[in-house]
């Protein structure tokens, strides 16, 4: 076999995709023949097999379709690879099956490719799998695509038909954000415009297929990106603890301080280990499998991700994914699945299926309850533990994950953190902090005030009635002699948080500060009511953590439609028009509480009913049983 010429020590992997029977395998067989890449005897063997099987024309697809079942049914079942070269370099050609039943095999092949050729039958034009395959290419992040319009012999090599089909393909690709770098008319069976040009199509002045292949580029390893070193395993040899793994992006060197996520611990690299031993080895870059040793015995295990201090991955227990689903058993809301990305493995629950996309007409179903086989969807996933996460836009290697159902991979997708904030704990910036103890106990404070302090944290959509309710409850409590104060979203943003906007990070910081302030005020003995949308569970959980014994989460509930109809500040209207961005419920998520201490439904009840409901709850909690009378006396005095 003529392969891997000496000159080109470079290999480009190209996948051939398209609808069933549009001629993918035939194209590859012919490509090999026309570039003299078939092993000796293969051509004769093919002729022999075709004669035995009674087909008069030579079936080029048999070069690749090696299974008997594939030859019998004349379809490709599984993906395969074959090597060939042009003057310029070596290629690995990946054949993919077009039948929808074998989409999982198409993906297994296509995910390995640097470039793709989309084959479209000139007689049939764009069909269902043409679209689905193209859509999968976009999900796989493929950016180099050539389209070939095949079987030109069957449309009399008509330039009009070529233009027509080209337009159709181009239109679909553009609508999903892809771009065909080249569109080439070919006849795979006749070998026209593959390696050789064709008299029959002298109207076509563009590149032949092999010429377009040579124009594709090989991506260089992502050395200039932030370091990601996912720990694959930990070996202990001769008293030495070696963390092994592959540098996915960036580079690492001896002496670097490495921060591990999600544990947030760091240590210095004492050695880069390879075998045979090489003491001159002081650094490693993206793509290299190495071992490292550390100067401190911090806890590190498989799945932890090493980075430099300046740009670590995000930490979050919730993220979104744009995924494709391959299993016959649908992905369901509420189900838990195992996911893997890099070397990390986690269990996630499907919090919501935000959108299911029909790849045929690009129609969208919002808020579906399941994702069926071969469908694509956007989902929100939540895990119990904090995960170290890179969105796909930041890191193409770690920003994608596969989902397992049972023993097998059932789907895959890219990670999207839009609308979600980094939850990495900000440790105190200063090291010289010493907590001082008060001389006054909580009890004495409570005695003095006549009631205990507490935090009543209202959460809900804009327009759900948080502020109205909070102010009414405050007044009622005050009138009864309680020491109370409301922290309201808009008010706080004028002062304490005037430096913050509405990005996920700023929203998180807004709530963090308010959480700390409510904790201090409750500690001082006040009944604090806070009225903030506080859309993220993670942020509310953090506010709770600031003062766990005093914290009460109260869900002020009204559905989006109701709130949007009320629209007291006209904000929903602006958000729908697009003049406000990242508005909760419209283009930014609201995560309803899972186990709130209390739910107040403002949709079906009037304000007074709701105020009374909250009032009863608050009074019950802050009451000082033994000093009941003392508070009453005070109330009279006021």
């Amino acid at each position: 076999m003529k392969k891997q010429s000496q000159k080109a020590m470079q290999q480009l992997r190209v996948v051939i995709v398209g609808h069933v029977d549009h001629g993918k395998s035939t194209l590859i067989g012919r490509l090999l023949y026309d570039t003299n890449s078939l092993p000796a005897g293969k051509y004769e063997e093919l002729q022999e097999i075709c004669k035995r099987r009674g087909t008069d024309a030579l079936e080029w697809s048999f070069v690749l379709d090696a299974f008997q079942a594939e030859r019998d049914q004349a379809i490709t079942i599984d993906t395969t690879q074959i090597w060939f070269s042009t003057e310029m370099r070596d290629y690995v050609i990946i054949d993919a099956p077009g039948h929808r039943e074998f989409l999982k095999n198409m993906i297994s092949g296509a995910a390995q490719a640097d470039a793709a050729i989309l084959v479209v039958d000139a007689t049939e034009g764009v069909r269902e799998q043409t679209k689905r395959h193209a859509y999968m290419l976009s999900l796989l992040g493929m950016r180099q695509i050539a389209v070939v319009i095949n079987k030109m012999d069957m449309v009399d090599h008509s330039t009009e038909r070529f233009e027509e089909v080209s337009k159709e393909v181009d239109h679909y690709l553009k609508s999903i954000g892809l771009n065909a770098n080249y569109i080439v008319p070919i006849s795979a069976r006749e070998g026209d415009m593959i390696a050789n040009r064709s008299d029959k199509m002298d109207w076509y002045k563009g590149k032949s297929l092999t010429e377009t292949l040579d124009c594709f580029e090989l991506e260089s390893p992502p050395l200039s990106r932030s370091l990601r070193f996912p720990v694959q395993d930990v070996y202990r040899y001769n008293e030495e603890r070696i963390l092994v793994g592959r540098v996915e992006t960036g580079s690492i060197k001896k002496g670097d301080t490495i921060l591990f996520s999600p544990t947030n611990e760091s240590a210095k690299v004492t050695n880069i280990k390879v075998w045979p031993e090489d003491s001159a080895r002081v650094s490693a870059g993206a793509g290299e499998c190495i071992g490292i040793t550390l100067d401190e015995r911090i806890f590190v295990e498989r799945g932890h991700i090493g980075s430099h201090n300046e740009n670590p991955p995000m930490l979050s227990n919730v993220f979104r994914a744009n995924l494709f689903w391959l299993s016959a058993k649908p992905l369901k809301q509420g189900n838990s699945y195992k996911v893997r990305y890099g070397t990390n493995e986690a269990t996630v629950t499907v919090q919501s299926i935000d959108r299911v996309i029909d790849t045929d007409d690009l129609g969208q179903t919002e808020k579906a309850s399941e994702v069926g086989k071969n469908a694509v969807a956007e989902v929100t996933l939540r895990s119990r533990e904090m995960l170290a996460i890179d969105p796909y836009t930041d890191n193409q290697k770690l920003g994608r994950m596969v989902i397992y159902d049972g023993y097998d991979i059932a789907g895959g997708g890219s990670i999207n953190m839009d609308g979600y904030a980094d939850q990495r704990e900000n440790a105190p910036k200063s090291q010289n902090i010493f907590m001082v103890d008060h001389l006054i106990t909580d009890e004495r404070r409570a005695l003095n005030k006549g009631h205990k302090g507490g935090i009543f944290w209202f959460t809900g959509l804009s327009g759900a009635g948080k502020s109205t309710l909070a102010m009414a409850v405050e007044k009622a409590l005050f009138d009864k002699g309680y020491h109370t104060y409301v922290l309201d979203g808009d008010n706080v943003r004028y002062g304490l948080n005037s430096d913050l906007g509405f990005s996920p990070e700023d929203r998180a910081e807004n709530i963090r500060r308010v959480g700390e302030v409510t904790a201090l005020m409750a500690d001082a003995g006040l009944i604090v009511i806070s009225a903030f949308i506080s859309p993220y569970r993670a942020d509310r959980d953090k506010a709770r953590a600031a003062s766990p014994d005093n914290f009460n989460e109260i869900y002020v509930e009204a559905d989006l439609k109701t709130c949007e109809n009320r629209d007291p500040k006209g904000l929903y209207k602006k958000a729908r028009q697009g003049s406000i961005k990242q508005f909760t419920g419209v283009d930014s998520p609201y995560e309803a509480p899972e186990n709130p201490e209390m739910v107040v439904n403002t949709q079906d009840n009037d304000v007074q009913t709701c105020v009374n409901q909250v009032l009863r709850y608050v009074e019950d909690l802050v009451r000082l049983e033994t000093y009941e009378t003392s508070r009453k006396e005070k109330a009279i005095a006021i």
Partner: protein
Amino acid sequence: MYNYLDELEAKSIYIIREAYNKLDPLGMMWSIGKDSTALLYMVRKAFFGRVPFPVALLDTEQEMPEVYAFRDRLIKEWDLDCINWKCPPEEEMDMTLPPNTRSAMRKTEGLKTLMEEYKFKGMFGGIRRDEQGLRAKERVFSPRSFDGSWDFKDQPPEFWDQYKTEFPEGAHLRVHPILHWTEIDIWRYHQRENIPFCELYLAREDKETGKMMRYRSLGEKNLTFPVESPADSIEAIIEELGVTEVSERSGRSMDTETEDSFEKLRARGYM
């Protein structure tokens, strides 16, 4: 400095370490040929000079003497835990198979008994996609049922370096860390890393015909034949592979006895 052999190697080492982390007990089929020896060398790279699991030779007692000698040399030099596993005799094989295929079935059956004995959850194999059309369709982590058979019509999806690592009790995984290498890659790697190989790969004069002959692929005496070639050094082999049109397994008789003979072998568990 990072070139394409490094890239192929890194991918293999990653796979080897994945299997080691996920599958226990783990073993490796070592045919003593150039591919599985290169693989074994990469195992040593992955584990900093060690081979932390047993390697098994499926012995039909039909290997050539040079092969046995090379085996003994490496066991000693590389400190290998080698299982020399005797395959069942040919008489016990399926009589309906063509003769050479039946002979090759001995390894398949031997492997089955080996798996029964050692209960391996994972078994490394040194096959490559460019060798043969059926191998080209393999997965890196390829599930096998309890009897070793390969359900090639319904293989699990495999992408983004995430593999199938769980399976029902009694089944196992064949792991193929050098699936993405080609024959010439392997030889270039042998050359670069100075990995020892069996001398039968180098051309020698045939006493009877006076022609220079060498083995492209090593197998049992009765099933494998040398091809005519002047290549008597690794450099010459690499040069030859750059221009030859003769396929690597052309010296293997069971591949092409009938159109589907190799498929039958592989479906039943052959490497």
